[in-house]
């Protein structure tokens, strides 16, 4: 009962804080980027809140419990990805003035074709990321109420759509920042109680010779899969559409760097915890499932305190569903409204409904995989498409329109194909199974190679304004230089 109350409370709080933002968001610019008046701590909290999805809150602990030490790389990669993003992308991306990845593609390559292809990829990655969020919302809601899975999915989808439709980005920034601290508290407080309970149980540890705690075991090709996972997570972070849109809310490139540093700190603090949940879950012999985070506090701490802690983690889980889904919905809807519909606030509203409906339908139809596994696939697609586009686009002047197109098609296409085969069919076994389940180790090199080779073969198609664009991307804002006159198209 208290769990349901917690869920209702989180949803109400989300809607109310969202409504708080309505008065402040009137123009289209407000809708998109909160008019760039967000301070670094708010911004970093919002990025953290948006980024820590059901995969981080529930999925990581579940996978660690199931597969053991190799899964520790997942949160490491999801944090380390921000270090790669910081050094290669953050400041230049902010200086580019782009709101979204398609904006960046257009600004750097001066081509509408590359822009459209990027839009398609953003929508695909967004939907692939949203689908497991809705699925696990259904799973958790079903666990606490006994309702069929689609009820929880629908509930989260409706709250997200309402919130995005009513407030836009400004309210989302407040909601997201609030969600980060809620999620941190919801994982930390039960953990403190559980550690006390574990201590008073005489600190039970692993049985001697327990294979589970050792890295590189338990799967068919653990070395390949570990390296592929590392590549996907470290390089995929920079290509996530809902993360990049936040960088525009920094006032300048320097602030974008500092925000990223702050994000890294906030995420590092959070990711210390799921591993402990997984470890305790194994020590206490919990069943291997995504719901271990929800079930564990009740198992270790009994009575009304245990019930309160369970309600708290449930609230955290719903915060995770709502925050990530809201951020993704804003990004996907923005791209659909701008590049597929004709633009304007009205188009944004239609696009929002579309952005939520498709993954909701997919959540009902697709094979049910662990949430962190599917999110990992979204990272693999991002790493094989937008990572090369951003890195080469920012640092390599000889990137051409044809090269970018070919690389996006080859890398993004192959990764998407692997994802479709893994999600619809399967589980596949042997080398084919490993290559399909963790595609990044081969799709990322393919994408980079194709982009570089095709660019070198088509030197005449280097964008004409590349020198000006480089000035724009790399000179500090304090210098008074000509940065060109490109602006993202206002809706």
């Amino acid at each position: 009962m208290s769990q349901i109350a917690a869920v209702v409370l989180v949803m109400l709080a989300t809607v109310l804080i969202g409504a708080f933002g309505i008065r402040m968001s009137r123009t289209t610019s407000d809708f998109y980027v909160a008019s760039r008046t967000v301070s670094p701590l708010w911004n970093a909290s919002a990025i953290g809140g948006e980024y820590l999805s059901a995969a981080s809150f529930l999925g990581v602990a579940g996978l660690i419990l199931t597969f053991g030490a190799d899964m520790l790389w997942l949160p490491v990669g999801w944090t380390g990805g921000y270090l790669v993003l910081l050094v290669l992308v953050s400041a230049p991306l902010r200086r580019s003035g782009a709101y979204t990845l398609p904006d960046f593609a257009e600004a750097r390559l001066e081509s509408m074709t590359v822009r459209r292809l990027s839009s398609v990829l953003v929508v695909l990655i967004g939907w692939l990321y949203l689908m497991p969020q809705f699925q696990s919302a259904g799973l958790v809601f079903g666990t606490i109420t006994g309702a069929p899975p689609w009820v929880g999915s629908l509930l989260v989808a409706v709250v997200v759509a309402t919130n995005v439709l009513s407030g836009g980005m400004r309210s989302i920034t407040f909601v997201q920042a609030f969600q980060y601290w809620l999620k941190l508290t919801a994982l930390a407080v039960p953990l403190a109680f559980m550690l006390v309970a574990w201590w008073s149980d005489g600190t039970p540890g692993l049985a001697p010779g327990d294979e589970w705690a050792l890295p590189l075991h338990g799967r068919e090709h653990p070395v390949y899969e570990t390296y592929s996972l590392i590549l996907a997570t470290f390089l995929g972070t920079m290509g996530l559409p809902h993360v990049l849109v936040r960088f525009y809310t920094n006032p300048d490139g320097r602030a974008a760097r500092r925000t990223t540093l702050l994000v890294l700190t906030l995420l590092g603090a959070f990711y210390l915890m799921p591993a402990v949940y997984g470890y305790l879950g194994h020590v206490y012999g919990m069943p291997e499932s995504d719901t271990v985070v929800i079930a564990l506090p009740g198992r270790l701490v009994g009575g009304p305190v245990g019930e309160f802690l369970t309600a708290l983690v449930t609230a955290g889980a719903f915060a995770a569903f709502l925050s990530t889904s809201s951020g993704l919905t804003v990004s996907v809807a923005g791209v659909i409204a701008q590049d597929i519909l004709r633009g304007g606030v009205r188009a944004f509203r239609v696009a929002t409904v579309l952005a939520v409906l498709v993954p909701l339908a997919l959540a009902g139809a697709a094979r049910s995989l662990p949430v962190a596994t599917v999110v990992g696939l979204a990272f693999a697609v991002a790493a094989s498409s937008f990572c090369p586009l951003l890195v080469l686009g920012i640092w390599w002047r000889r990137l051409t329109t044809a090269g970018a197109m070919a690389g996006l098609l080859a890398g993004g296409g192959l990764a998407c194909a692997a994802v479709v085969v893994t999600i619809t069919g399967g589980p596949h076994t042997g080398w084919a199974g490993s290559l399909l389940a963790q595609p990044a180790a081969w799709t990322v090199p393919v994408s980079f190679t194709v982009m570089v080779v095709v660019s070198l073969l088509t030197p005449s198609r280097v964008p004409r304004g590349v020198a000006r664009t480089m000035v724009r991307l790399h000179t500090p804002e304090t210098l008074n230089v000509d940065r060109g006159d490109w602006h993202p198209r206002y809706m």
Binding site: A69, L72, W73, V76, T79, G80, Y82, L83, V84, L86, V87, L88, A91, T203, G205, L206, A213, L214, P215, L216, V223, T226, Y227, I230, F234, R254, R257, R258, T260, L261, L264, T265, G268, A269, Y271, L272, A275, V276, Y279, W395, A467, R468, M470, V471, H474, T475, P476, T478, L479, N480, V481, D482
Partner: protein
């Protein structure tokens, strides 16, 4: 790393100075020093960058190269640490079973120590990247 833009730029100073990309000599305003009519442009080097003269390009190239070298350095260290750990566990399997503070070593590293290390690396990077930018701004604005 901080001295690099200066040196690179100094080498090219003689070649492109004062010449527009078309090759025509730049127009010079001749005024009496007593009139306030034509103040000298305060930062001629930013104009070299704006007009994409060879000198401007050399300066821009040096900034991009300095920042890229720094980024590449951080990524290389990260790749060695992150890519090296699974390799280490593969080649020296006994390491997987070493106990530290009552926990297996891989857990202590991957679920704990790696996070502060990432934050420290990011902090050092931000400091150095801002320093590079300041040096570039000083260099361009001093003349």
């Amino acid at each position: 790393m901080t001295g690099k833009p200066r040196r690179a730029a100094a080498g090219a100073r003689g070649q492109g100075e004062g010449t527009a990309p078309s090759g025509k000599p730049r127009r010079v305003t001749v005024t009496s020093p007593r009139t306030a009519a034509a103040p000298r442009p305060r930062h001629p080097l930013t104009r070299e960058i704006d007009e994409q003269t060879r000198l401007g390009e050399v300066y821009m190239g040096s900034l991009v190269r300095t920042q890229f070298r720094l980024a590449l350095f951080v990524c290389t260290v990260l790749a060695c640490v992150v890519g090296g750990l699974p390799l280490l566990f593969l080649l020296v399997p006994e390491l997987r079973e070493v106990q530290l503070f009552g926990l297996p070593l891989p857990w202590v590293v991957l679920a704990g120590l790696v996070y502060p290390a990432l934050v420290a690396g990011a902090w050092l990077y931000v400091r150095q990247a801002e320093r590079n930018e300041r040096d570039f701004a000083d260099l361009v604005e001093r003349r």
